[in-house]
Amino acid sequence: MEVRRIGYLLGLSLLMVLSGRLRAQEFTIMNNRMYVTVPKHLSPEQLDSFEVRFDLSDLNLRSILQKGKFDRLRKMGWRIEKNTAGVLQISRQVLGLSDMTNPEKRIKLTEEHPTFAEMFPIENDNLKYGYNRFVRKRPFLVRDSMVTFYMRGHLNARQVMLAGSFTNWQFNALSMNRTDSGWIMVVKLGAGKYWYKFIIDGGWTTDPDNDLHEDDGRGNMNSVYFKPNYTFTLKRFRNAREVYLSGNFNNWLRHDIAMEPTATGWEVDLYLAAGTHTYKYIVDGTWYADPDNPNQLPDGERGFNSVVRIGKPRIFFLKGYGTAQAVFLAGSFNDWKREELSMKKTAEGWTIPYTLGPGNYSYRFFVDGKGIPDPANPYFVSGNGKSDSYLIVSPNFTFRLHGYGTAEKVYLAGDFNNWTPNSLSMKRIGDEWIFSVHLSVGKHLYKFIVDSQWMIDPGNQLWEDNEYGTNNSVIWIEH
């Protein structure tokens, strides 16, 4: 399976190189005009991808090439430069901003102008996995990062729009294109979870062919789409009655993720969050590790689980202990399984690469069975009379305490580190003490500890009582 992924990556790299070359020809600037050259041999889907890639969706190239009418383009300020059997080339003058009369407008010009996907990023916090449950139609076509949303039927509608979390809902809703069986729209999305609805002649509706829908908490029901990032493929057992995928991501549920039969075996597309995932297939009730995946970890029952890693691994390293027989890594990320992650002995110590997604984790090294915290890591969490090392991956929130310039030590503590008081030492920058952690979506409680004195955040008006009558500051992390 790893070989297949490497092959896929190589193919993708080649495609990117080629597309880079193509881009240079497809979109150029000459004489203060932008030139767009559209190859006419592109399929409708490729045309949609072309439009999205260059942010040219307003041109509706598919319709123009089909009908050969250019009036609308000309009204939009485009000039037809070339229209042969092979290509359509159009151009338009590059205009500048004429009213950039103050410094703010200059800064505004040069600030980031994000794409749709960048403006409305995936909302997958706390989510380990997801898969789609379409009925009466096939899953949306996915090519690289392009997803073709499809609304079946409604061919008599005058207009169908696609609105979702990736369009800021109605604000940037996308006008779908009519096909012979329904309506489609190509959207560039990263892997993750999205919510969407169709707007048919002004009327909002969930996707009737999608069994996944969620209430947004305000009484609105939305359809849910997972842009997958991993395909599980089992090229055996064609004659099996049913095959399920089960792993640590779904708490090893047996009948949760049903795989689809293919010509060669079984398959299912999944969205998997960043991190290390272990899994097995259940073929007519019997558990199997993936026979095509060489990456395995002990399952604790004298067998092995297959492993998928999403994201870059980080290196855990324990210096010394050259006389130890065996060293294992265990932590909250692998349910503290002590004999799953065997570290490799090197000249300097013991090491293991392990992939983790965003979050806060506790861990220990187990040297010949004895647990020790990571001596190279100053952060720890305490509880039950012991201390574990504490690791923050991809912090997404910075706590700030203004003032207190004479304080010698300021710590942060909260539910995210089991209220450990003297671990998360805040750094003095300017006139603030700061510390960054990863906070999941939802409510969190915290306090500062200034020279051993616990205090709520003076810059936060939200606080609530605690069992000691000393109050805790409250922060909500929202989608």
Binding site: I29, D55, G96, S98, P103, T406, D431
Partner: protein
């Protein structure tokens, strides 16, 4: 506009080691976090909002974050917080992309930046609400290029510190910060100061191009009217819509500029926004070919000697 740089003060007291202590001395009240090195030098902490550099400064009695903006000539005050100030007749103004505009002008009695004090400073007043909304910071104004023209300025992104040194006449030719001792760590590139703009000369496909070094620019910009040969080195990645007048949208392009020479080094790929910079020529009879944003030039440190006209880019 004239600035009167009256004092770069030096109070060497025990309290300075702990500038955040309330009431410990006048420095503490004015500039929490600033550290005085000697009579002519200071180190200021800064905060980043996106790629903008925010420092705490005080205009008369109003203190808070100001953006260091080498693309703007003057001190600019956010009109939201200085509306009560008396205004003088509108005059011509404009940053590097500014067409001629009628800016409302005012004057602050004192502007304090770390231990540096300016007195009787003319200022332009503009609304800066968009930057505040976009960055989530309360921004009182922009510190334009004229405020730094007599200085050596080194921005240390790793430490979030700005090293400022006011160069007097005697030392102008000889002084350099101790950060410049290791000459192998950085590259020196000559700059010009032209009408309060920092200009650097680059070469692309044999063409000489003039870029403004703009700390207020988050993205580098290239003029779409440059010769076609220049755009042979540009790979366009996508179109982008900019807000024009009212609800009107104006097209611009994103792309990657390849193999631009800056000093002795060749920049393999520079992300640029490509747009028509005619408005700049209208404002100044002297066109520029684009803007270079700070963040691209160095991830670690960047420095300027605005007196000897040098730029230092750390590797």
């Amino acid at each position: 506009m004239k600035y009167c740089l009256l004092a770069i003060c030096c109070w060497v007291t025990a309290a300075q080691a702990d500038p955040g202590q309330p009431g410990a001395g006048p420095l503490n009240v004015r500039f929490p976090g600033a550290v005085i090195l000697d009579s002519m030098s200071c180190v200021l902490p800064f905060t980043r909002a996106g790629n903008l550099i925010l420092v705490r400064a005080k205009a008369d009695t109003t203190d808070g974050y100001f953006v260091i903006d080498t693309g703007t000539p003057n001190l600019v005050l956010n009109i939201t917080y200085f509306r009560r100030y008396p205004t003088t007749n509108p005059t011509e103004s404009g940053g590097i992309t500014g067409a001629v505009t009628n800016a409302t002008q005012t004057r602050v009695d004192s502007l304090t930046l770390g231990p540096i004090q300016y007195f009787h400073v003319d200022a332009d007043m503009f609304g800066l609400g968009h930057i505040e909304n976009n960055k989530g910071f309360k921004i009182f104004g922009l510190l334009g290029m004229k405020l730094f023209e007599g200085f050596e300025m080194i921005i240390d992104y790793d430490q979030n510190l700005i090293y400022l040194h006011r160069l007097n006449r005697k030392e102008a030719a000889t002084y350099h910060s101790h950060l410049l001792d290791d000459t192998s760590a950085y590259q020196v590139i000559p700059i010009d100061i032209d009408e309060d703009k920092v200009i650097v000369h680059t070469v692309l496909k044999g063409k000489k191009l003039r870029f403004v070094i703009d700390s207020g620019a988050e993205t580098s910009v290239l003029d779409s009217r440059l010769p076609n040969k220049v755009f042979e080195s540009v790979e366009v990645t996508r179109r982008v819509h900019l807000d024009g007048t009212g609800s009107q949208k104006v097209d611009a392009l994103y792309g990657n500029l390849r193999d631009m020479q800056l000093g002795d080094q060749t920049i393999a790929s520079l992300p640029v926004l490509i747009t028509n910079l005619q408005a700049m020529c209208d404002a100044y009879n002297n066109c520029i070919d684009g803007m270079l944003s700070f963040d691209f030039l160095s991830l670690h440190k960047i420095g300027f000697n605005f007196v000897t006209r040098k730029m230092y880019i750390w590797k």
